[in-house]
Symmetry: C2
Subunit: 301 residues, 2 copies
C-alpha cells in the first residue's frame, strides 16, 4: 500500500424503492465509476427507499455521488413520493465514513465539498449533519428531517431551518439533502458465561458512555434465548478513540464482580483493518502494527 | 475481497549483481506483468547476485518468473560467474510463499508447474526443495547447492544428484535451478523487563522447537545493548500452525518463573494479514475474524 491509498465509505439513501428501473439506473451509474467498489445495495418497497454502500478514494466517491444524484434528481419526484421512512428529498442523506488513511475532519471537508457541488449544480438545499454539522441541533439526522419533506417545505424559510448551502427553498421535485461525516460503527457483542440477563444489563450500564463508561460505546444487555447466554450488545462509534480491546478488557473487569467469565464475542458485519491492527498490537505489546507491514495492503488499488 | 483473491509471494534469486543493465532488464520485465506488485529488490556486487520480491495471483507470479528467466538465461553465463554466495545457476532459486487464500500444498503445485515449464522450455535441470522436496535430503537448499555450480556440474550425472525435472546435465550457461514452496517467515521479537541475557536465553530454549517448545519457532536470546533489555528473538516459520499469540503467551508463562514481565515486542518486516486476524480473534475470544469482514479487502486487485 502506498501512502496515497485513501479510502472512504459512502452510504447514500435515495427515496426510491418501488421502480426497479430507477434503482437499476442508480446502480449502473455507480458501478461505472473507476476506483470504486459497491459493497452492498438494498431497496424496500414499504420504505420506498434504496441504499447503496460503496467505498473508494474521495474523488471516486464524490463522482459516484454526483452521477447517482443526477439520476435521482431527474427521476424522483418528492411531490409524488410516499413511504414509511423519514425523508426530506430524492437524495435523502449522504453519510461519508473514513476507512483508511483519512481523518474524520477530512471527511467533513469532503461532505461539504459534495454538498456545495449539489447545491450549486441543482439549486438544492443542503443540510450538514453529524461531524459536519454547523450547529448542535443539526448533529442528529432526525432533527434535520423533522416534519419530513412535507413539513420542511413549509418551514425552510424560517431561519432555524435555513439550509447550510443552497437556497432556502425546496427543490421543486428533489426536495433537500442531508450530507455529513461520521465514524465507522463497529457492532461488537460479548457473550457472558451466565444466563442471568440482569448481569449483562449491569455490565452494559458500566461500560457505556451514557452511564459513565467509555465515551464511544453504546451498550445494552440482551438474552440469546437459544444458547441461554446473556450478552452485552454494543455499537462502538469511534474505534480510534475507544478501541475494541479497551471495551473487551473493561467488560472482563466488570464481569469479575459477578464471578462471570467472557465465553466469546462476535463482530457483526464489516470493520476497518485499523481496528484489528490496533487490537493485535495491544495484546502483543507492540507500539503499533503499521498498515505497510501487511502484505495484502500492497495489492490495494 | 472476493473469494477468488489468491496471493502468492515469490522471491527469485538471480546470479547477477554486477551488471546494472541486466538487473534493470530483469526489473523492467517483472514490473510489466499485470496483477503483480514488486515489493522489493536488491543486488550485491560481492555476492554477484540480485533478489526480487514480488506478489500476485499464481498466474501473474508464474508469468513474472518466466519472463525474468528468459532474460537471465539469455544474459547470464555461469561459466564466467564468480561470487561469494552459494549458487548453482543463473536463476539460482525460486521460493514460492502462500500469502492469501492459498495453501502451502497449492504453492507446491505452482512450484512444480513453474519448474516443469523451465525444464521443458530451456532444457534446464530443476531441483525441488522445502515443502516441494521429493526426498528428505533435498528439503534444505544448502544440501542441493552442495559444491556450487562447479561441483554440481561434475556430479549431476550421479543418481543421488539427478534433478527432479529436466536433463541430468547442466545447462551450458544457466546451470541448474532450485524451485520450492515455504511458508512465510514472521520475525517476532519479545522484550523482557530485565537486562539478564541468561533469562532470555532460557526462555528462548523453552519456547523453540529444537529444545521441546513450539513446533514452528526458532528462537534465541539476545541483548539490546542500548536499551539494556534482554530479548527473545524469533522466527515463526508457520504462523498457521504455531500462531503469534501462542508464542507470546508461552513467553509470558516462562517469564513468570523469573518474575520477569514482557515490556514490549516487535514484528520486523512484513506479514500476511491472516496472522493479525488470528491474533486479534484469539484475544477478543472471537471464533474467527474473516477476511471478508475487513473493509479494505474489497479493494484488493
Amino acid at each position: 500500500m502506498n501512502s496515497k491509498n485513501v479510502l472512504v465509505e459512502c452510504i447514500p439513501n435515495f427515496s426510491e424503492g418501488r421502480r426497479p428501473r430507477v434503482i437499476k439506473a442508480l446502480h449502473d451509474a455507480i458501478i461505472e465509476v473507476k476506483g470504486l467498489k459497491l459493497l452492498d445495495y438494498s431497496s424496500d418497497q414499504d420504505h420506498n427507499r434504496c441504499v447503496f454502500t460503496f467505498m473508494g478514494n474521495p474523488r471516486a466517491v464524490k463522482k459516484a455521488v454526483l452521477v447517482a444524484a443526477d439520476i435521482a434528481i431527474g427521476k424522483i419526484d418528492m411531490e409524488k413520493h410516499s413511504g414509511a421512512h423519514p425523508r426530506i428529498g430524492a437524495i435523502d442523506v449522504i453519510p461519508i465514513v473514513p476507512i483508511c488513511n483519512i481523518s474524520i475532519e477530512e471527511c467533513v471537508e469532503l461532505a461539504k465539498d459534495i454538498g456545495k457541488s449539489l447545491a450549486n449544480k441543482y439549486n438544492l438545499p443542503i443540510y450538514l449533519y453529524e461531524a459536519a454539522a454547523t450547529r448542535p441541533e443539526r448533529v442528529n439526522l432526525a432533527d434535520i428531517r423533522k416534519g419530513n419533506y412535507e413539513g420542511l417545505k413549509t418551514e425552510i424559510h424560517l431561519p432555524e431551518r435555513y439550509p447550510d448551502f443552497g437556497p432556502a427553498e425546496m427543490h421543486p421535485t428533489a426536495g433537500a439533502t442531508v450530507v455529513g461525516a461520521r465514524n465507522p460503527l463497529i457492532a461488537f457483542n460479548v457473550n457472558l458465561g451466565t444466563s442471568d440477563l440482569a448481569i449483562a444489563k449491569q455490565i452494559a450500564r458500566r461500560v457505556r458512555n451514557k452511564n459513565g463508561g467509555l465515551r464511544y460505546v453504546k451498550a445494552m444487555g440482551v438474552m440469546l434465548q437459544e444458547k441461554k447466554i446473556a450478552q452485552v450488545s454494543m455499537n462502538l462509534t469511534d474505534f480510534t478513540r475507544t478501541p475494541i480491546y479497551a471495551v473487551m478488557e473493561m467488560i472482563k473487569m466488570e464481569a469479575r464482580r459477578y464471578g462471570v467469565s467472557v465465553v466469546g464475542s462476535e463482530i457483526i458485519g464489516l470493520l476497518p483493518q485499523q481496528a484489528i491492527l490496533d487490537t493485535a498490537a495491544y495484546y502483543l505489546q507492540l507500539p503499533e502494527i503499521e498498515p505497510i507491514q501487511i502484505l495484502e495492503n500492497y495489492m490495494l488499488e
